[in-house]
């Protein structure tokens, strides 16, 4: 990656200069007119966007060594695709700084390796949200939040990187709400979920390292989410109580629709510390949860989701595990957030994710 130059203000759009005083003055009327123009064309997600111009695209592209014509996003069922250059247009519109571009592009590389994303995800009634997870020193360089409030607002890279993905889906792939996009309600925080792993406070190897990349690599993983549930468990006496609480959220019947599913566990650093100090590795945590999270056939039947179908019949007390296997594909675990309270997040994964981290370059 080209070393990012400090790039604060708008470079391609000139502001009105007052030559006499030497001061610069922005034109709010022009800014509003441009924003309204972009709204009127139907190119935005409902919030104001910035205009993309050829100069601005070139300024962003200086931050990647990828071929601008490389196709990084595609939706074969619609005969649609987006190149590095097309995605760059959306990074600009989303409000990214140019140095965020490699993260946006790598997020698309990750999504293009995800069968679910290439398949029906963007048109799905579930309305899943990509959860973009960043590892490596790039988190500090970009000032990407991995500490308190990772699912909330307040940090430009965390907010604009996933937004760029959503705008690309809308404009380049043509999946527009109420047309080809058919989300029944959609996931809260759709196009808004991006955070860095709190590697410095994790007792375990980083998520990207666990997925096969070198320690310290700048990396992106993307997981499509169906729901998120907050687990507030700060009064436990034994780490096993915390695990039981996570299992309780993971086995909710609400999002349960396939025979098995996958969950992302975003552990706050304090839960991670307590578990590690009790001698649990990340894989130990995963295996315990895979073994204990599930429902019986009778419990599923009581909510109309029995898995007996056709020739396949289950006894009432047959235990259906939530997870098929104790692997990062089925139960990815990431450390994130502040250690100021023992609050973690269970994120239900939409279908499957490939279990891969992608190096940022």
């Amino acid at each position: 990656m080209t070393a990012p130059a400090p790039t604060g203000g708008p470079a391609a759009i000139e502001v009105a200069d007052d030559a006499q005083s030497g001061s610069s003055e922005l034109d709010p009327a022009a800014a509003r007119a441009v924003a309204e123009h972009l709204f009127d064309r139907g190119w935005t997600d409902g919030l104001p966007t910035l205009p993309a111009t050829e100069d601005e695209v070139e300024r962003f592209l200086a931050h990647t060594d990828r071929d601008p014509d490389e196709i990084l996003a595609r939706l074969p069922q619609l005969d649609k695709q987006a190149t590095v250059r097309d995605i760059t247009v959306h990074a600009i519109m989303a409000g990214c700084r140019p140095e965020y571009l490699p993260v946006v592009l790598t997020a698309w590389e990750a999504l293009s390796a995800d069968r679910t994303a290439i398949g029906g995800a963007w048109q799905s009634t579930s309305g899943p949200s990509p959860v973009v997870i960043v590892n490596g020193p790039i988190r500090q360089r970009l000032e990407l939040n991995s500490a308190g409030g990772i699912f909330g607002p307040g940090f430009r890279p965390n907010a604009t990187i996933p937004r760029a993905i959503g705008l690309t889906v809308r404009n380049s792939l043509g999946v527009v709400p109420h047309e080809l996009e058919q989300a029944t309600q959609g996931v809260p925080g759709r196009w808004a979920q991006c955070f860095g792993e709190a590697e410095e406070r994790s007792p375990w190897e980083s998520f990207a390292t666990e997925l096969g990349l070198d320690e310290g690599a700048d990396a992106v993983s993307v997981i499509l989410a169906r729901t998120s549930e907050f687990v507030d468990n700060r009064h436990f006496n034994d780490p096993i109580e915390v695990l039981r609480d996570f299992a309780d959220s993971m086995q909710r019947t609400g999002p349960w629709i396939f025979p098995t599913s996958a969950c992302l566990l975003v552990l706050n650093p304090d839960h991670a510390r307590v578990l590690a100090e009790a001698g649990w590795s990340k894989q130990d945590v995963r295996e315990w949860l895979v073994e204990h999270a599930g429902k019986t056939e009778a419990q599923l039947a009581a909510v109309g989701k029995a898995l007996s179908r056709g020739d396949q019949r289950f006894d009432d007390d047959h235990f259906h595990p939530v997870f098929a296997e104790p692997t990062p594909e089925h139960l990815p675990i990431v450390v994130g957030g502040s250690p100021n309270a023992a609050i973690s997040m269970v994120v239900r994964v939409f279908s499957r994710w490939p279990g891969k981290a992608f190096r940022i370059h």
Binding site: A52, T53, T83, G120, S124, G174, E181
Partner: protein, 190 residues
């Protein structure tokens, strides 16, 4: 002030983006009768889809002297046909009934499949639920066949019981005949 043009984000920088849609010439394809024909029924693994199509095939069998009922399953319901699937259907069926599009991606894919089939000369009756009429139509437009005539049934179908499934399948017989048989009235008179 800058006079630079604001880029249109819906237009790809790649010139090959403008792929030629599989446009269907003229109106929907028809056959004179289903007598002696190989009638394909393609279910997409959605709940009750196979059962509804079975009931529908039974109903067609009572009205026509079908040559054969060819059952097929499309496991990747969100995706349009692969080349292999398309070739298999070209080889094995004379007309095809596709169903049931009851979600965002599968209804759009079903319409895309129907258009692809008709572009290959095989009349196709595509069944989608009314909740997905909008995106089914959007897909038809995208494929260059904005007036593609698909069949709309009421939503939902996933939680119909056995009797409901049979009734729904039977109720769709007229729609399918009307869609792919030129002299539908003659068929109905049998």
């Amino acid at each position: 002030m800058s006079t630079q043009q604001i880029l249109d984000p819906t237009i790809s920088s790649l010139s090959t983006q403008a792929t030629k849609p599989a446009s269907v010439a003229g109106g929907p394809l028809r056959v004179e009768s289903l007598d002696g024909l190989r009638v394909g029924v393609l279910e997409n693994t959605k709940r009750n889809a196979a059962e509804i199509l079975d009931a529908l095939a039974d109903g067609l069998g009572e009205r026509f002297d079908l040559g054969q009922v060819v059952r097929r399953t499309k496991r990747q319901f969100a995706m349009p046909f692969s080349d292999e699937q398309l070739q298999d259907l070209r080889d094995e069926v004379d007309v095809l009934v596709i169903g049931v599009g009851d979600c965002g991606s599968c209804s759009a894919a079903a319409v895309a499949d129907g258009i692809a089939l008709e572009a290959n000369g095989i009349p196709a009756a595509v069944i989608c639920t009314d909740a997905f009429e909008g995106n089914s139509r959007a897909m038809a437009k995208l494929k260059g066949a904005p007036d593609f005539d698909f069949i709309v049934t009421s939503h939902p179908v996933a939680n119909l019981d056995d009797q409901g499934v049979r009734e729904r399948g039977r109720a769709l017989v007229d729609d399918v005949v009307g869609r792919i048989v030129a002299s539908a009235a003659a068929g109905a008179a049998r």
